[in-house]
């Protein structure tokens, strides 16, 4: 290619065609633009595009067939220790890692389509992989068939907006040790787990859709050791477990809708000071389960479709507190095998008895202000 001959800040326009090339190194600031998505085929040999300069625009290519390596993280497009780049409008097919950012800041990844055919977690890579980055914008990408759709490790102050992450083996989006990040308006569908947020602080999660993450070990959203996050305006539908929280503190879970999930929430006893308010719980098999008889979280003003109380003063808030943990879901937490008795009449009876006079389920876990009607969001 023409990179060697180009001066810094030149524009290179590549005409349509198929180029079998790999280990392309972009070592000066260039605008590289493909017309009608020229194909760069790595022939499963090695890495394809490596950006080793600041201020590169890489736009409009089809990058395909990256080699598979167990030692090196070969990627379709990699930015290594450089800043201020834009990767836009590309198609990445069958790339081991799709777009790989390493110690790079202020980068925009927009409108890319990434598709791979990951068969198992061991020999597959992530769609968009970020390691030690800051101020990254990931917008309107579509990622499918990787191990993790988007992977964040030590990434600060970045935003993930309106992406679609679908059919990835492990997680749709995965945070590790990443703080002050936002993800807004994304759709996570049919992944092993929609989103996993681990060991991270101050994550804003807003207006996302978590759909069809269904299977024996699948979750919509997985929290592990996260603090001070906000989860609002999201929709959870048809997930085996919509939210699973382990050791997570001070999270605001507000204005979300949980519909037709197996478990809407599984909050472990080591979670505290979380606020769960103004959510709608509709048609879930279990609304809430926990493994502790103490409650250290605050539940209020939620709508629970199984609430059977009354509202005499007509203020829209039920006069009797609601206990979202049913005896059976508590028992399953203790003895998983007991699930074989799901929907048995005996279980219905003891659930009823427990509802009238709670003995085993957490006494203090209750919604003091259950809503009579659905919470309406704008």
């Amino acid at each position: 290619m023409a990179i060697e001959n180009a001066q810094p800040f030149d524009t290179i326009v590549v005409s349509p065609g198929r180029y079998v090339e790999y280990d392309i190194q972009i070592d000066k600031p260039l605008y590289i633009i493909g017309i009608d998505h020229p194909v760069i085929d790595g022939d499963h040999k090695s890495e394809i595009v490596t950006i080793m300069s600041d201020s590169v625009l890489f736009k409009g290519f089809q990058v395909q067939n990256v080699g598979l390596s167990y030692i090196k993280d070969w990627a379709g497009i990699k930015i290594d220790n450089r800043d201020y780049c834009i990767i836009e409008d590309n198609i990445l097919l069958d790339t081991y890692f799709g777009i790989y950012l390493k110690k790079s800041d202020h980068i925009v990844i927009r409108n890319n389509y990434l598709k791979s055919v990951a068969k198992n977690e061991v020999n597959s890579g992530n769609g968009i992989h970020l390691w030690y980055c800051e101020d990254i914008l990931i917008e309107k990408n579509q990622i499918t068939g990787h191990r993790d759709g988007i992977y964040f490790e030590f990434v600060e102050k970045s935003r993930i907006i309106e992406n679609i992450s679908e059919g990835n083996l492990r997680y749709g989006l995965h945070f590790m040790f990443s703080n002050h990040d936002d993800y807004i308006g994304n759709t996570f569908k049919n992944n092993g787990t929609g989103v996993a947020v681990m060991y991270s602080e101050f994550i804003l999660m807003k207006n996302n859709n978590f759909v069809d993450n269904w299977g024996t070990a699948n979750y919509g959203l997985l929290f592990k050791e996260i603090y001070d996050g906000e989860l609002s305006g999201n929709k959870f539908q048809n997930n085996t477990t919509a939210i699973f929280a382990d050791g997570s503190n001070r999270i605001k879970i507000i204005n979300n809708e949980f519909r037709s999930n197996g478990w809407a929430m599984n909050i472990f006893g080591n979670c505290m000071d979380n606020e769960i308010a103004y959510n709608n719980f509709i048609s879930n098999t279990f609304d809430l389960t926990t493994n502790s008889s103490r409650n250290r979280n605050d539940y209020h003003d939620n709508y629970w479709d199984q609430y059977a109380g009354y509202d005499l003063d007509k203020d829209g808030i039920g006069d009797v507190p609601y206990r979202p943990v049913r005896l059976f879901s508590y028992l399953i937490g203790k003895i998983p095998e007991a699930i074989i008795l799901l929907r048995s009449f005996f279980i219905d009876m003891i659930n009823m008895a427990e509802k009238v006079a709670p003995v085993l389920t957490p006494q203090s876990l209750l919604d003091e202000r259950p809503r009579m009607k659905l919470n309406i969001y704008d």
Partner: protein, 260 residues
């Protein structure tokens, strides 16, 4: 035997109760479908009703029918007809007429609603099949109890007790034993336990068909591996068949010895 079966069958099918029984399922099915607009939800709700009601109706009808037609049985016994045919004919007469009400009452609403478009044909089929099995099993049990007990009150009480045990108490013991044995790997034990109660067995078969299996997590994987594959299915239906055949054999054995 066919004559007796026919007589008993038409006697029952003409009776009010069969029609009420049919109408009950028909109306319930309709209401559930048109309220929920979701075939698989309607099947789950109908399952809850079916598995408590079919055994109960089978039990009550079995006992009542036997005691009410005692004179008729005595009359038949005076004729040169083998005992086997009399009792088998009467038993089949009741169970088939009840099953017919169940079959029609349950399938018609779904067919009207458009079952074949929903892709849930298999789960409804399992629901109806297990409902029919339960009818046969509990009618046979009731018949046997009535045959053993001359005293109507005692017989009735015992039959209801058997139903109560299977529908409620067994699950309590089940849960308690799971609780006590939770230190051990108990998945296989749980599968074995469920084979010993036809109501539990039918319930689990449907739950696994309705994609609720994923809810069961890791342990569910063990269950659905057993009940989900063909050999597990076969074993389950074999267990249901044994549950039907054994009480019938008991009826026959008792009927040979019984002194009327």
């Amino acid at each position: 035997m066919l004559k007796i079966l026919k007589y008993s069958f038409f006697d029952l099918i003409r009776s009010r109760w069969s029609i009420i029984y049919f109408l009950f399922y028909f109306i319930t099915g309709m209401v559930l479908l048109y309220l929920s607009h979701d075939v698989s939800k309607a099947i789950v709700s109908l399952m809850n009703i079916t598995f408590i009601l079919t055994p109960l109706i089978g039990t009550i009808f079995g006992v009542m029918n036997f005691y009410n037609s005692r004179e008729f049985i005595e009359l038949l016994l005076a004729q040169p007809v083998p005992r086997k045919r009399i009792f088998l004919g009467m038993f089949l007469g009741i169970s088939i007429s009840l099953s017919l009400s169940l079959l029609l009452g349950m399938s018609l609403p779904f067919i009207i609603y458009g079952l074949f478009l929903s892709g849930q044909v298999m789960s409804l089929l399992i629901l109806i099949t297990s409902g029919v099995f339960l009818t046969f099993i509990f009618t046979a049990l009731a018949f046997y109890i009535a045959l053993v007990n001359e005293n109507r009150l005692k017989g009735f009480g015992m039959a209801i007790l058997v139903w109560l045990f299977m529908a409620f108490i067994y699950d309590g013991i089940f849960l308690l034993s799971l609780f006590l044995l939770q230190e051990y790997p108990i998945e296989k034990f749980a599968i074995a336990m469920s084979l010993f109660n036809p109501i539990d067995l039918s319930r689990i078969l449907i739950m696994l068909k309705l994609d609720i299996s994923a809810l069961m997590g890791y342990t569910g994987a063990v269950f659905s591996k057993f009940f989900g594959n063909n050999s597990g299915m076969l074993i389950s239906f074999l267990a249901l068949t044994i549950w039907t055949v054994v009480p019938v054999l008991l009826i026959l054995k008792k009927s040979f010895k019984k002194d009327f």
